[in-house]
């Protein structure tokens, strides 16, 4: 799937490995939480970047301290209505202080992109043919925000007091 990061399309250095599939020896690999729990030691022993893909009902806290050994956490949006991912990303950034990639995948809407960025996502799997201009426009539509979030963007209250 096309991947947007840093405002443009980038090559994906990771491959999603199915639960039953063998782990590749080299290259970035993303596995499910179930697989991660099962094969944790093997995964950690690999000399290659590792990531975990969480379902919408799987809290990042279930990764424990291992979260800091991950290069990427992928959060699924099974339906655009399922907004748990926003809280999970926020948790990764501000409670767990995760500094790796937080990637959104699934059925999120173009119009949710601004919220995804604010809550701490920095990479987005989008459908084939998704125009980059749409992505950038989504971020520009509402220039100011009322409340703080994981992105640290200044709030309207900050702007009012001249910060």
């Amino acid at each position: 799937m096309p991947l947007i990061k840093g405002g443009s399309f980038v090559a994906d250095p990771f491959v999603l490995i199915a639960d039953e599939a063998p782990l590749p020896d080299v290259g970035g690999a993303i596995v499910s939480l179930t697989r991660f729990r099962k094969d944790r030691d093997t995964l950690m022993a690999r000399n290659a970047p590792i990531g975990v893909r969480l379902k919408s009902d799987e809290s990042p806290e279930q990764l424990g301290d291992d979260v800091h050994r991950l290069s990427v956490v992928v959060i699924e949006f099974p339906a655009f209505r399922d907004g748990r991912g926003f809280s999970w990303a926020r948790m990764l950034r501000t409670r767990l202080n995760f500094t790796g990639e937080v990637r959104a995948t699934g059925a999120f809407l173009y119009d949710q992109i601004a919220y995804l960025v604010r809550t701490g996502f920095d990479a987005f799997e989008v459908p084939d043919g998704f125009p980059l201009a749409e992505f950038n426009r989504a971020l520009a539509e509402m220039s100011a925000v009322y409340q703080p979030s994981a992105d640290g963007k200044k709030t309207i209250r900050d702007l009012r007091s001249g910060k």
Partner: protein, 551 residues
């Protein structure tokens, strides 16, 4: 009242432009309906039985004359000449065209109004006591903190796709006029043992299929901590609220499943963290800055006598005029429940005339109550006769506030796509039956609330007499509930039994009232008598016809 600064103005302007773009993309087919629907809902636009319906936010029910005029203008220009005031202090227009909505929103933005988050699975309009700033029994005006909550919740990136909608209410008085205990979350202004003002936070109340009374999750939250605390509750809900079943998705279900102790634990965990981070603290300067917007008008030194007037005026004062904190002033309820009229509706001409009346008598605000009436909060007593006369000319002087004909009814099957039965004709029928004013006064306070479906937008669970319209094999039936209350003595009404048909429900209500009159003891309202004697005698009386049928 609050005034937009450049930031607020730009926010709504950008929101209008964003929606205009979304409508264009929908009309061109770039967005299909599934993709567009959540976007239009987040701007208050529903598709109802006959047409679209636009729900416009009236934050904590407060409007200026200028805003009221704009609502009249919108009714005239884009709709069918009227609007409907709702049980969440908002206003609804029933006939807008999709293509016109961006222009409607632009017109609203020009008077500091919008339709943001009046629908969707997000934090909805923050409601407050409609007597705010005027009531004699108030600790503090609840609207400053309501405004702070409103801003914090506006397009909050983490909480726009909650399991379900989320409703917050604020009250500044021990006498709860905001139905706190039936809200997802509520903030009650309280004083602690040493006289400091802070907030008691409740969670888990709600109407609908499974009504609940909320419980206390924060006994005393300091002012500067309130947003951190509310955010904590929202986070617990967003993470753990059920998403598998739309009827189990409100926070009331989670609150009940976890119980107060576990809920508090989870909230406190978040709260401790958020508070420590400091970014959500509300500094004293900010509290003072927002407070200043809601400073009461300069009250003149006026004699406190109630002016004389004729019998009609006296009747109106009995029920529609309430005690104000300042001598010489009063609070006036403008009833939108004329006998036989549509509850909560006002025409464009009435709205314009009310705006003029406000200007004439230097009343700078008008309020929308969650009981579908309007309120003039600061009225000079000496102006009451002239105001009453003018309201009478406008058909807005029905002297029935809080009486049995002051009925709350949702739009029901006459308008609403979700409804099972019509509610407005039932309200009209009941009101006509009890039209005699002496009889109304004899009955006293009796709140009838009617919902056309289980979504309970008519708040029937909180009615002294609640009526729920149901669909039984394509026929409209009406179930009675007795003993509900939305005040500080909150209770959920008890279901009486099998429903009544469209032509039976009015007589059934008459028999229930008759039972009350026969059973009541000194000074008891209907609610008090019901709580004392229970359902049995009322039930026997209501189903009386069955006794005859059976024999």
């Amino acid at each position: 009242m609050y005034r937009y600064d450049e930031f607020d103005a730009k926010f709504v302007a950008e929101r209008v432009a964003q929606f205009r773009g979304q409508v264009q993309r929908r009309l061109s087919g770039e967005l299909n309906e599934d993709q567009f629907k959540p976007l239009r809902l987040m701007n208050g636009l529903y598709l109802q039985l006959h047409a679209y319906m636009l729900r416009i936010a009236v934050p904590y029910g407060t409007l200026s004359a200028r805003q009221l005029r704009m609502l009249a203008h919108i009714a005239r220009k884009y709709d069918r000449g009227y609007g409907h005031f709702t049980t969440r202090q908002n206003i609804q227009f029933n006939w807008p065209k999709l293509v016109d909505v961006p222009d409607i929103l632009a017109d609203l933005a020009s008077v500091e109004m919008h339709a943001i988050q009046t629908s969707g699975n997000c934090i909805r309009n923050v409601t407050a006591d409609h007597f705010a700033g005027a009531a004699a029994d108030e600790i503090e005006d609840p609207r400053p903190i309501a405004e702070i909550i409103r801003q914090w919740s506006s397009l909050h990136p983490e909480f726009v796709f909650l399991p379900r909608k989320f409703k917050i209410a604020v009250s500044g008085s021990a006498h709860d006029r905001a139905a706190l205990k039936f809200h997802d979350m509520a903030v009650e202004i309280v004083k602690n043992a040493i006289g400091e003002v802070g907030y008691r936070v409740l969670v888990g109340g709600g109407m609908g299929r499974t009504p609940y009374i909320g419980y206390v999750v924060g006994e005393f939250v300091a002012k500067q901590d309130i947003l951190a605390f509310l955010e904590s509750v929202m986070r617990v809900y967003n993470q753990s609220g059920r998403r598998d079943n739309i009827y189990k998705a409100r926070i009331k279900i989670l609150a009940n499943a976890l119980g107060p102790e576990e809920m508090k634990n989870q909230v406190m965990r978040e709260f401790t963290e958020i508070r420590a981070r400091g970014t959500l603290q509300v500094p004293d300067e900010e509290l003072a800055r927002i407070d200043a917007y809601f400073a009461p008008p300069e009250f003149e030194e006026l004699p406190d006598d109630m002016p004389a007037g004729d019998k009609d005026f006296q009747n109106w004062i009995k029920t529609n005029v309430h005690k104000h904190r300042a001598p010489g002033y009063a609070i006036a309820t403008i009833s939108l429940k004329p006998i036989g009229g549509v509850p909560g509706d006002a025409s464009d001409a009435q709205m314009d005339a009310l705006a003029d009346l406000m200007d004439t008598f230097a009343i700078t605000e008008i309020r929308v109550s969650h009981e579908q009436n309007l309120v003039l909060p600061h009225v000079r007593k000496r102006d009451l006769p002239a105001i009453f006369a003018r309201l009478s000319e406008l058909g807005l002087a029905t002297p029935n506030a809080g009486l049995i004909t002051d009925i709350i009814a949702c739009p029901g099957l006459d308008y609403c796509d979700l409804a099972n039965a019509r509610s407005i004709p039932i309200a009209q029928d009941i009101a006509k039956r009890f039209a005699d004013l002496d009889r109304q006064h004899d009955i006293g306070e009796l709140k009838i609330k009617i919902s056309g479906c289980i979504n309970a937008c008519g708040h029937h669970h909180a009615g002294h007499i609640g009526i729920l319209g149901v669909d039984k094999k394509g026929v409209e039936y009406y179930q009675l509930q007795l003993g509900g209350s939305g005040a500080e003595d909150a209770s959920i009404g008890d279901i009486m039994g099998p429903g009544f048909g469209e032509h039976e429900i009015g007589p059934a209500v008459e028999r229930v009232v008759k039972a009350y009159l026969m059973l009541r003891q000194d000074g008891e309202r209907f609610l008090d008598t019901y709580r004392r004697v229970g359902m049995e005698p009322f039930k026997n009386m209501a189903y009386l016809d069955q006794l005859y049928a059976a024999h």
